[in-house]
Each structure stands twice: as structure tokens, then as C-alpha cells.
């Protein structure tokens, strides 16, 4: 136990997060006076550079925002522009889009579970140490992730920044044979994903519960991924086209990412905890049973347990991928008819890290007049800061080293994608005299 009257904790680089940022915790005596998630990654101005581009370009341009979840950006962009142009994507094309998204959930979540988050629970400083002590686990994780990557490559040309997605569908649709060749690997990955749920459920989780309003898409009858209605666990529901009215973004001095708040309600949380809480009833029987056996109930409020939710979602995504491929009949054409026209369109999908919203205003020839992109990590910043404050306050008697470590662990639980939200994370705890 340490009692410092004036001290500064500084972690030069918070490891195992995606992007560049810093965390400042200021302590005055026994009181946490300030918590800031500093995102100092340079603003990337994607919304501005989209202006003047053709309506066909945002899926490929915005996919460059993130190397981990490019499919999410492509899909939200497609849905928003299709909404503006009155294009309906259904049947096998919609199934292919969901299948591609499932593959991204598998690779993104599995990377986070095995390479970034699990080491925290096994007392390992990194995945390399974990590979020495838990080699078969790491090999299993890499195999699941590779199956996800290979499915993305099969459907969309390559695993990172795929090239086969366009407004209205795809440039080419896969043959049933090529997809069915993946089935044995997908079934193996599904069995491995079930083992993953059982494995992570046995970890020790710090006691902590968030109390934010939870926002996720809801699509009754199915676990929302590539479509749905924005809905909260406290009774708010609104069509995607009203997102701008309900989600207010504001600048804060310490971050190059905007902070999102629900109008008249305040901070909120999107991502796996919100998604599970609002959608768990539509998990497949296999995933639902695994969730129950892992101790997940009607909702999950402990951000440290998000690793269990991610593992359930990987299992679900693989189960869903098998189902979609077994039922797949090739579409008559790889793309629905698309004609440019003036209008504004809105699209939202569930990126691995949470709800991802796009809005495009198009001119008569389909030129992008304006664009708005709201990524999940920007929406979650205020909630993460609040949770850090509540988490640190009762733990001030911990050593600086231990407290810093637990704060980092908590931040990793949110899997913040700083690259998406605007990129190296530093953690600093300042303790004043009080």
C-alpha cells in the first residue's frame, strides 16, 4: 500500500490497443479530479475528402479508415448511399453482405480476445509470453482468426481493405462450390470458438459495473449486425435517419476525436456489452447455450467481461456463417441496379467495436455533397472516462504500478480503435497534494 501526496504515473505507451492516444488521471488527495482519454492522433478529415467524390467511392475510401474493421466502413457506407438512392439489397446479396460482416467479426474479435486482451487475465505482459505458457491457446486463436481472414479474402478479394464491395452489392458473387469448400474449416473454427467461450469464462474478472445507457442496433428476429434500428436499454429507439438529431458530437480540448452524447440524456456506451444486452435473445441456440454456460445473463455490465461477450459473438458469427453458406444460392446478378439521384441517405451497422453511422448527401449526378461518419470509439470516449474515474476512486490505495496496470486493462476491455476515431496511447496518473 502506498500513500503518495504528490506523484505522477506515466506509461509511455499503453500496449495492445489500436491507435495512438494517452490517458491522464489526476488525483488530488483521495479524490480523482480529472480523467481524460487523450486522442492525439492527427485528425484525418475523411468527411471533408469525401466531398466532391462520386457516390461509388465512399465504400472503398472509408474502408481505409481502419485495417481491422474495413468491412464495417464499407457496409455502413453502402447502406447510407443505397438509402439515398432508393436501392434495395435483399435475398442472396444481403446474405453475402451479412456473411462478409460475420467474417470480419471473427477476425477482429479473435485478434482482440487472443492477442490483446487474454494476456491480461493470464498474468502475461503480452501475447509472446502467453504463447510460451499457453501455446495451444494462441495457436487456436491464430487458426480461428485466419479462417475469418480467409473468408473475407474469398468473398471480397483480400483480407484487409477488401476490394469486391460496391453500392448495391458486389463486383462478383462467389460460386456455391467455392463457399462450401470453406465449410469444414468454418465448422472447425466454430468448435474452437465454443472452446474459446468456455476458456475465457473461467478467467477472474475484477468487480465493476458500468451504468451507462447502452445503444445498439436491434433487428427483431436476428442478432443485429449489418442492419437494425438504434435502440437503448432505457427505452429510446429511433430510425437511423434521426441519428443526427439524437447523437450530438462535441469537441473537447484533449482529443482529436469528437465526443458523442445522446441529446438530453448524456453519455452512452455502444459495442459488445450493449449489443449483447439488447440482442441476446436472438443468438443462435448454440451461441445462446454457450452464453448461459459462461454465466452471461440478460445483460452484461462488466467491461472486463466483454471478452466473454466477444467470444460468444465469434461463436455466433461462425454459426451464422455456416448457416448462410449451407443455404446459399447465387444471386441472379452480383449487384442490384443503381441510378444516381439527389438525396440524403443514412446507414448504420454494428462494427466489432459498436454502432457505426454514416450519412451522405448526394447531388443529382451522385456527387457527394457532404458526409458524416460517427465511429464507435468516439461515441464511447465519455463513457470510458467516466468508468475510469469510478474504477480508480475506490482503488487509490493500490500502488501506482498496480493501479496503472488495472486502468490499462480496463481500457483494453473497451477495445478502443483510436485509428478509427480520428492513433500510441500513453497513460499518466498525476497525484496532487490534496
Amino acid at each position: 500500500v502506498t500513500h503518495h501526496s504528490d506523484r505522477l504515473l506515466h506509461v509511455a505507451s499503453l500496449a495492445r490497443v489500436e491507435g495512438e492516444g494517452a490517458m491522464l488521471v489526476r488525483v488530488d488527495g483521495d479524490r480523482v479530479t480529472e480523467v481524460q482519454l487523450n486522442i492525439y492522433e492527427a485528425p484525418r478529415f475523411f468527411e471533408a475528402l469525401l466531398r466532391g467524390r462520386a457516390y461509388t467511392e465512399p465504400p472503398d475510401i472509408t474502408s481505409r479508415i481502419c485495417g481491422i474493421c474495413p468491412v464495417a466502413y464499407q457496409t455502413s457506407a453502402c447502406r447510407a448511399i443505397e438509402n439515398a438512392l432508393g436501392v434495395t439489397v435483399d435475398g442472396p446479396l444481403a446474405d453475402l453482405r451479412r456473411l462478409l460482416y460475420c467474417a470480419e467479426w471473427v477476425e477482429s474479435h479473435t485478434m482482440h480476445i487472443y492477442l490483446l486482451h487474454a494476456p491480461d487475465f493470464l498474468g502475461c505482459p503480452d501475447v509472446v509470453t502467453m504463447a510460451r505458457d499457453h501455446r495451444s491457446m494462441v495457436e487456436r486463436g491464430l487458426a480461428i482468426k485466419k479462417t475469418g481472414n480467409d473468408l473475407i479474402a474469398l468473398l471480397a478479394g483480400r483480407p484487409i481493405h477488401p476490394v469486391n464491395v460496391q453500392i448495391g452489392g458486389f463486383y462478383s458473387a462467389p460460386t456455391p462450390e467455392s463457399l462450401r469448400e470453406m465449410l469444414p474449416r468454418l465448422r472447425q473454427a466454430r468448435a474452437d470458438a465454443l472452446s474459446t467461450v468456455e476458456w475465457v469464462a473461467g478467467f477472474d474478472f475484477p468487480e465493476f459495473e458500468q451504468d451507462h445507457e447502452l445503444l445498439a442496433l436491434v433487428e427483431p428476429g436476428t442478432y443485429a449486425i449489418e442492419s437494425g434500428t438504434p435502440t437503448t436499454d432505457r427505452g429510446l429507439s429511433f430510425p437511423v435517419r434521426d441519428f443526427d438529431r439524437h447523437v450530438i458530437e462535441g469537441q473537447v480540448p484533449h482529443s482529436t476525436a469528437l465526443h458523442g452524447r445522446l441529446a438530453g440524456r448524456g453519455r452512452y456506451l455502444t459495442g459488445p456489452l450493449a449489443r449483447y444486452t439488447l440482442n441476446h435473445q436472438w443468438l443462435s441456440p448454440l451461441a445462446a447455450e454457450a452464453a448461459r454456460n459462461a454465466g452471461l445473463g440478460e445483460r452484461c455490465d462488466n467491461p472486463f467481461r466483454s471478452i466473454v461477450v466477444r467470444a460468444v459473438e465469434v461463436l455466433y458469427a461462425l454459426d451464422e456463417a455456416v448457416r448462410l453458406i449451407e443455404a446459399y444460392q447465387p444471386p441472379p446478378a452480383p449487384v442490384a441496379p443503381v441510378t444516381p439521384r439527389a438525396g440524403t441517405g443514412y446507414g448504420a451497422t454494428e462494427a466489432p467495436r459498436g454502432l457505426l453511422y454514416h450519412r451522405y448527401e448526394l447531388g443529382a449526378d451522385g456527387t457527394v455533397v457532404s458526409a458524416r461518419i460517427v465511429p464507435p470509439t468516439a461515441q464511447n470516449q465519455a463513457a470510458i472516462e467516466e468508468d475510469l474515474c469510478r474504477f480508480v476512486t475506490p482503488r487509490l490505495d493500490l500502488s501506482d504500478e498496480r493501479l496503472t496496470y488495472e486502468c490499462e486493462q480496463m481500457i483494453r476491455g473497451y477495445d478502443p480503435c483510436i485509428s478509427c476515431s480520428t492513433h500510441f496511447l500513453d497513460l499518466r496518473i498525476e497525484r496532487g497534494a490534496g
Binding site: 492527427a42 509472446v128 494462441v138 491464430l142 485466419k146
Partner: protein, 152 residues
């Protein structure tokens, strides 16, 4: 599995971080026979898949050094882990050094792994290499070609 692989690591849209992909392009243009040439953002599991089972893997990547001498090239032959704390200029959670260490822990290193690490001037936005790093890319391409042509 091919005998030898050249892996150019980096992001061509982050100026000098594109030195690895530039070397890959230079070697592709020279048409080196019997050589697999790939580009990668440096994600660990992808690197392990790319070099696993190869006789020789040559990896070219950008590094930030303090103090920096842009264009200086370090040739590091694994298992020599290189200077303590050396990290590639990766914006991802698991960097090139960790990929090597992870592959070693999993017995998935190639028979020989050679890293050419090029010190960068900057990794800001843009597709142009700085003059010093552009010059280094030509030297590294030539050196890698000789390396890859060596008898086993």
C-alpha cells in the same frame, strides 16, 4: 510453400513507413525469379503465415530511431533479436518484433529470417518517401536481391 519470400511491411500512405512496400515494388519490377514478393501492413498473424515454412524470408520495414539518422539501414539476422526495445513503426497493437517473438514461441519462424530496418525521417500522411529513405530503398532492394540469390 515457396523457397524464399520478400515481405515489404508498411503503410504506403504514411510517407517513410512505405519503404517496405517500395522495396517490394522495386524487386517486382526487376522480375527476380523464384521469389515470392508480398506486401503487408505488418499484422503479426499475417506475417507468421507469410513466412512460415519458407527457407528464407527477407522482411523490409521502417523503424523510428532516437536520435534518428534517416536512411540508415540495419540488417538484423534472426535469431539475433536486435537492440533491446527495437520496435518497428507499427500503428497496431502487435508489432514486427512481437511477430518474430511470437513465431519463435510457436516454432513458426522460417529457416532464416533477415530484417532490413530502415530508419525513417517521418511517418506522417503522404505517399512520398523522404529523399534519404527513397535512396535507402534502392540500396535495400539491391542488397535483398543478393541475399535472396545466395545458395542455401
Amino acid at each position: 510453400m515457396s523457397d524464399a519470400v520478400l515481405i515489404g511491411v508498411g503503410n504506403p500512405y504514411r510517407s517513410d513507413d512505405g519503404v517496405g512496400t517500395t522495396v517490394a515494388r522495386l524487386l517486382r519490377e526487376r522480375g527476380v525469379p523464384q521469389l515470392r514478393i508480398v506486401e503487408s501492413f505488418g499484422e503479426a498473424s499475417e506475417l507468421i503465415d507469410l513466412w512460415g515454412g519458407a527457407r528464407l524470408a527477407v522482411v523490409v520495414a521502417a523503424v523510428r530511431a532516437h536520435p534518428a539518422r534517416p536512411g540508415r539501414v540495419r540488417r538484423i539476422a534472426v535469431p539475433d533479436p536486435g537492440p533491446a526495445g527495437a520496435r518497428a513503426a507499427s500503428t497496431h497493437g502487435v508489432d514486427l518484433g512481437a511477430a518474430v517473438a511470437l513465431a519463435r514461441a510457436l516454432d513458426r519462424l522460417p529457416e532464416r529470417l533477415v530484417l532490413y530496418a530502415v530508419e525513417v525521417a517521418g511517418v506522417g500522411y503522404g505517399q512520398r518517401l523522404s529523399p534519404a529513405v527513397a535512396a535507402a530503398s534502392v540500396r535495400v532492394a539491391a542488397a535483398a536481391e543478393v541475399e535472396l540469390a545466395r545458395p542455401r
